[in-house]
Every structure is written in C-alpha cells, then in structure tokens.
C-alpha cells in the first residue's frame, strides 16, 4: 500500500470547514497569502503563521516523514545564506536571525499550501482548468468541428491533471514493489549496479504503462469522454469574503 508520504496532494480535510469554500477563492487567497508572507514584516508574518497554524488544527496530522522532510528543506534553504561567506569561515553566524525569519516565511507558505491541498479536491481544480480551456477554445470550435477531429484528453486538462496526481502514489507504490521484488532476488539498488538498475527501471516503466493502459480502458468503460459535462459550483457569500481578503492582502503587499 502506498505511504501517505507519497501523495502530498491528498484530500484529507478532517473537520476543517475550509473544505466547503470555493476552490478558486482558496487558490486566490493562497497566492495572496504566500506573496505577502515572502515580503511582509515580522509582525504580520507571525500573525499569518499563527492563523495558519490555528487553521491546521482540525486537519489530520501530516505524517512525521513528510513534516521532517519539509523542515529539513526549510532549514537548508534558510541556512544556506550563511554557509561559506567567502572570508575563509565555514558559516557566518550573523545571518542566523535573517535565516530564522526566512525559515518562518517558508514554513508559513508550507502551512497555507497544506491547508489548500488538504481541503480541496483535485477534481474541483481540474474542472475549473477544463472549463477555462474550453472557454478559450470556444471561438475555434467551429473550425475543429469542420476537421472532424476526435476530442483528445488534451481537451480536458483538468482530468489530465487529476490523473497525473492520482498516478503519483501509484507509481511510487509500483516502484516500491519493483524494488522489493528486486531485493528479494538479490538486486540492491544501493550498490549502484547500473545494468541491474536499468532492468528494474524497465520493469517500472513497463508496469506504469500497463497500469495507465488499464486505467484508460476502465475510464472508457465507466463512460468517460473528454467532452464530459462539468458542473461548476457558484461563489457563496463566504467565498466572496475570502476573495476580498485576498485582494486586500495583495494591496497590502503593494503598499
């Protein structure tokens, strides 16, 4: 079974009421808040961090593996500015306060990203992507009909996006199984044996292609067509409120 770690885009809202908000309103707010987070003063940053942290509480706790990987990345990104300052020292301790603030900025961005992904279904974002592409392509539809071309999956980028994210944990799962199957037969990837690793890579690619083929057939059997009908949810009062807040944050950043 795939590890939770494998899918950072998993929809797991827990008891969070954010799941009921409109995905576009949340996406706009995420863009605004990350933009402000990277440039704001320490006071506002601490405020945004505290709010984000408070909103995280109703969500299921992220796997410790995910959190430690993120923390490691954040710490590295923050401390890198102090490494080898060029005067012969290994590390410049004077950069630590700035690094701390930078780490807090990155971690705040992570918190709001997690809030977004954990409370938003990929299919909701995908449906809006498809609707946007269809709107752009509408003026050219007459010409496409004249050429009688079959609509491909590229005409439904939302489904393509959903499938890519759906496949990420499955590919990790296939990789894990292929790796274990190789290990029990004496192939250790850690030994850097290129020829044997290539054999396993071939298995992984073939397995993934076969799985993709089975998925495509299953989609067809379940009535999928790239011209599927999409029902987009309308903005409610709370969504407009979030949108106004996002615009206010953008405005705050500009001044």
């Amino acid at each position: 079974m795939a590890n939770r770690l494998a899918n950072p885009f998993a929809f797991e809202p827990g008891k969070s009421s954010l799941a009921t908000l409109h995905p576009l309103a949340k996406l706009t707010f995420l863009l605004a808040v990350t933009s402000v987070t990277m440039w704001s003063g320490v006071g506002l940053l601490l405020g945004l961090f505290a709010i984000g942290f408070f909103l995280l509480i109703p969500l299921p706790r992220a796997a410790s593996g995910t959190l430690s990987s993120i923390l490691l990345l954040v710490m590295f990104a923050a401390l890198v500015r102090g490494i080898l300052p060029g005067d012969g020292r290994l590390f410049d301790a004077a950069t630590l306060p700035d690094s701390g603030v930078y780490a807090l900025r990155l971690f705040t961005v992570y918190i709001y990203s997690r809030l977004f992904y954990a409370t938003t279904r990929v299919s909701e974002i995908g449906d809006w992507m498809t609707a946007a592409i269809r709107a752009v392509r509408r003026p050219f539809r007459g010409r496409a009909k004249a050429t009688k071309r079959e609509p491909g999956l590229l005409g439904d980028p939302g489904m393509l996006f959903s499938l890519v994210l759906l496949f990420l944990p499955r590919i990790f799962d296939t990789y894990q199984r292929t790796k274990e199957a190789g290990e029990v037969r004496g192939i250790m990837l850690s030994r850097r044996n290129l020829r044997r690793s290539l054999v396993m890579l071939e298995q992984l690619i073939v397995g993934s292609i076969e799985q993709a083929w089975r998925t495509a057939v299953a989609m067809e059997v379940r009535g999928y067509s790239p011209e599927r009908s999409i029902r987009l949810t309308a903005f409610a009062g709370r969504d407009w409120g979030l949108l106004v807040l996002a615009i206010a944050l953008f405005f705050l950043k500009m001044i």
Binding site: R121, R170, V217, A218, V221, Y224, S225, S229
Partner: protein, 247 residues
C-alpha cells in the same frame, strides 16, 4: 426474459496465431446470473471484452439488445458495468464518494440525482460510512466492493465481474457474495467470470464452461456432470472431486 447479448460464431486470433476464441456462440438473457468458468487462459475475459466492445473479433458478430454492438457502444457504456480483476486501475477518486460519482457524472447525471446514485451504490455495495475514506487506505475486499459500487452508481442493467474473488480472504468473499445476492434480488443481469465456481455455484442460474476458447458446457449448473469439470480442469488439485464438496 428479453435477450441482452448474443454472440454468433465468434472467433479471435492473437497476433501470434494462438486461438483465443473458437467459434463461440452464446446468448444471454436479462435477469440471468451466469457463471462463466474455465481455467486460466480459457478465454473467459476475452469473450466478455468482446461483449462490451473492448476487443474486436476476427470473425463473427455480437448483438446487444438485437443490434450489432458497433452501433450500441454508447448504450453499452450506460447499461453494462464491467468490474475488472485489477480493481486499483479503475479507481479514480481521491475519496470513495468522489470515485463513485465519476461514472454517473460522465453520463451527465448531476445534483440530487448524482447524490442519490452515490448513496444507493454505497448501500448496495455495503460501503456505508466509508464515503470520505481514501481508496488507497481500503483493504483488498473493500477496494473490490468500491469497484463494484463505482459500476452500480451508473445504474447498469447488467454487471460483468472478472474474477471477483481473486486475492480475497473468506470474510471479503462473503461480503462480495452478499453484494451479489442484493443485485440478484434487484433483478440485475450478472455475469461472473471465475474459476472459483464453488463460491457462487448455488446462486447461478446458468453455467458456461470455456476450454481453450470453446464453450464445452452451457446449461443450468445442476445439470453439470463430473466429467464436464474434469475435462476443463475445474477440479480440486488434491483429488478428482467437485471442488465445492468438503468432507
């Protein structure tokens, strides 16, 4: 009972010349529970893939409700559900509920009707209380029931299940049998492809045994003789007996 499927002199040759189906003729009526049995490679899945238009025969014709299937594919997609042996490949949703909505939404069902279809599929597949679960966290038996529910949400007249008991423990098999009984009571046509015939033998109204691409038996299960099972390899590996007889 009206006729649902009819295959006439169906032949399928693989690219290497191996015979997949050899002059197969078969009619399936609505409301039947047909057990299509045969050992591995007998042609069970291949035959039913032809029925839903996923494979093309080298010779012969298939009819769905009296019309050649080439013109009936959209209707077949709407009315015939297919549960594959590899259940994970047919799960598309991030949650159970989202996956169940995938099929009916593709058929243009929306709003309250969609919610109702999802709810009734959850109930029929005995998955109540799991609507918010992530499919990857389900057990093998639950995933199999989710795959069945995904098909049921499309309100099919006929459900084809390819090896529905593969890799399942006894409690999971029992759950699947309960689901089949529910569907049978609703009058749906059920076609089960399996070599584990002992698990559903008593439920079936008809047994079709395939051997090397040929139909070697087609009658109610009670008419099957020991020789029919022996000839097609459907015997207990430890002794030559009916596989469902336990001393």
């Amino acid at each position: 009972m009206s006729e649902l499927f009819r295959a006439e002199a169906l032949e399928h040759l693989f690219p290497d010349g191996t015979i997949g189906l050899d002059h197969v003729s078969l009619a399936i009526d609505e409301g039947e529970l047909i057990l299509v049995a045969g050992k591995n490679g007998a042609g069970k899945s291949l035959l039913l893939r032809h029925f839903i238009g996923l494979s093309k025969p080298n010779a012969g014709t298939i009819y769905y409700r009296g019309e050649p299937i080439a013109s009936q594919i959209p209707l077949i997609r709407r009315e015939v559900g297919y549960v594959f042996q590899d259940t994970e490949a047919q799960i598309f949703g991030q949650t159970v509920e989202e996956d169940l909505a995938f099929g009916p939404a593709n058929l243009g069902i929306q709003g309250k009707e969609l919610e109702g279809a999802v709810r009734s599929a959850l109930r029929d597949a005995h998955l109540e209380g799991m609507s918010e679960r992530r499919p990857l966290t389900l057990s093998g038996g639950e995933k199999r029931r989710l795959a069945i529910a995904g098909v049921l949400a499309m309100k099919p007249r006929c459900v084809i299940l390819d090896e529905p008991f593969a890799n399942l423990d006894f409690p999971s098999v029992q759950e699947i049998i309960e689901v089949l009984k529910t569907l049978r009571s609703e009058g749906k046509t059920l076609i089960l492809l399996t070599h584990e015939i002992e698990k559903v033998f008593s439920l079936a109204s008809r047994l079709v045994i395939l051997d090397r691409g040929k139909i070697v038996f087609d009658a109610p299960p009670s008419l099957a003789k020991k020789e029919d099972f022996l000839q097609s390899g459907l015997v207990c590996p430890y002794r030559e007996c009916y596989p469902w007889q336990i001393d």
